[in-house]
């Protein structure tokens, strides 16, 4: 059994920021990530981010990941990083099991931050097991991390920001986006992204869904159908589009498995994407010493994941008896940033969801 003071699972924007602030406070940190590159989903984001300077806006996502990793450099003595290491189990007696480099390791932690992120939702349609049906995350990984174009002619399903941005990235990489399909009457993401696609001539088909992928051994096309107000396909509205890839971008859902195994309360909150741990104002779950941040506690954007990660790191440190020298100032600043990030009409859904996932517990 390996003894660790603070373990952070997931080295995306939330986990990296949590590690930095906890190390500043004096914690000994073990940061674990399953991938060979640190930064979580940021490593696939080739576009520049919106928002304010505090969340490194106007910087490309993968550059933000590099900067967050560089921020940990001064703490080489106290922040240990395991890459290509998957936390495969969590147990209520504060134990994690990790699969890494052919080795199965057990860790006992004093405090834990779950920054495990979210998984992609999938879609049930005919022949959805054909090669050429991808999730948007896989398309981004292939294209932006490994330089592999997943298809020459792509139909995108889902018009949230991920769907819109991946369409644009596909076009940048030389693919043709034959259509962007959205089941709702309106696009889900920012208009600025959708406008860019329209200017490039991408047809945006709302109230439409994919009912079937065509092809025997690989995707050769899709059949689309119009939807009525109850989301049911309208007979007689089917149309066919030739393509060699279908990209499914229908949203993300928090990864709740480790929180569940630890015995944390994890209600289903639709606005946050699925099952999320109940959190107190300091991001502590209903299990003492276990905190959560980033998409794992509700699907938002990288900016709020970074700030939420800082808060979780700050409070996990305090839980361990390491009060950050600037605790109050950082705490206040983070909360102000989060309110501002979640302000406005686009934040309304998140605000409603967070109310449901909030538990009033007095700070320890």
């Amino acid at each position: 059994m390996i003894e660790k003071e603070l373990v952070i699972v997931g080295a995306g924007p939330a986990g990296l920021c949590a590690a930095r602030i906890a190390a500043e406070a004096g914690c000994r940190v073990l940061l674990i990530d399953r991938s060979p590159l640190l930064g979580g989903q940021l490593i696939k984001q080739t576009h520049k981010f919106f928002g304010s300077e505090q969340q490194r806006a106007k910087t490309r996502g993968f550059r933000i990941a590099e900067a967050l990793v560089a921020d940990l450099k001064p703490f080489g003595d106290t922040v240990e990083i395991w890459q290509e290491a998957t936390v495969v189990g969590a147990y209520p007696d504060s134990v994690l099991t990790v699969w890494t480099n052919g080795e199965y390791r057990k860790i006992h932690f004093q405090s834990l931050i779950l920054a495990v992120g979210a998984g992609e939702r999938s879609l049930a349609f005919e022949n959805n097991d054909l090669p050429g049906v991808y999730g948007a995350g896989a398309v981004q990984t292939l294209m932006n991390v490994y330089g592999v174009l997943p298809g020459k002619e792509v139909v995108m399903i889902g018009s949230g920001n991920i769907g819109l941005i991946v369409c644009y990235q596909l076009i940048q990489a030389g693919a043709v986006v034959k259509a962007l399909v959205e089941a709702a009457p309106k696009i889900g993401g920012y208009k600025v992204h959708a406008s860019k696609l329209r200017r490039l001539g991408v047809p945006i088909l709302t109230r439409t869904t994919v009912v079937r992928a065509l092809g025997d051994s690989a995707v050769k096309g899709v059949v689309l159908s119009g939807l009525d107000e109850n989301w049911n396909p309208i007979p007689g509205t089917e149309s066919e589009i030739a393509c060699d890839a279908v990209c499914v971008a229908v949203g993300l859902s928090p990864l709740y498995q480790l929180a569940w195994m630890l015995g944390a309360e994890i209600p289903y909150v639709g606005e946050l994407g699925g099952m999320v741990p109940l959190l107190d104002e300091n991001r502590q779950t209903t299990v003492s010493g276990v905190f959560a941040a980033g998409d794992a506690s509700g699907v938002e954007e990288a900016s709020s994941a970074m700030v939420g990660g800082r808060l979780a790191g700050l409070h996990a440190a305090r839980f361990l008896g390491h009060l950050h020298p600037d605790h109050t100032a950082i705490d206040t600043e983070c909360r102000a940033q989060l309110s501002s990030l979640r302000g406005g009409p686009f934040g309304a859904k998140i605000r409603a969801g967070l109310k449901k996932a909030e538990v009033k517990v007095h700070a320890r």
Binding site: V88, S122, E126, D129, L258, M261
Partner: protein
Amino acid sequence: MNPEKIFLCRCEDVTLKQVRDLLDQGYTSPEEIKRILRIGMGPCQGKTCGLLLQQEIARYLKKRPEEIPLPHARPLVAGVPLEAIAEAADDER
């Protein structure tokens, strides 16, 4: 749409038809359906199909998805060779 061609669980090749047949027989909990069809027991451990199954059960029972529990999460969430687990156990003796 042909439910025999719609895969809810790609790891274990479970189709919508198989799930609907079980629902018709009265198996309406994710745990029962998992035990019979192995849905969610493949390499991704239900990360992809869990929500689709939840939706399908909800639709059948005319409930909201959140009223249907997701399959129970248990260690391990990814495949680990038994050899590695045995070696780790030896080290602790």
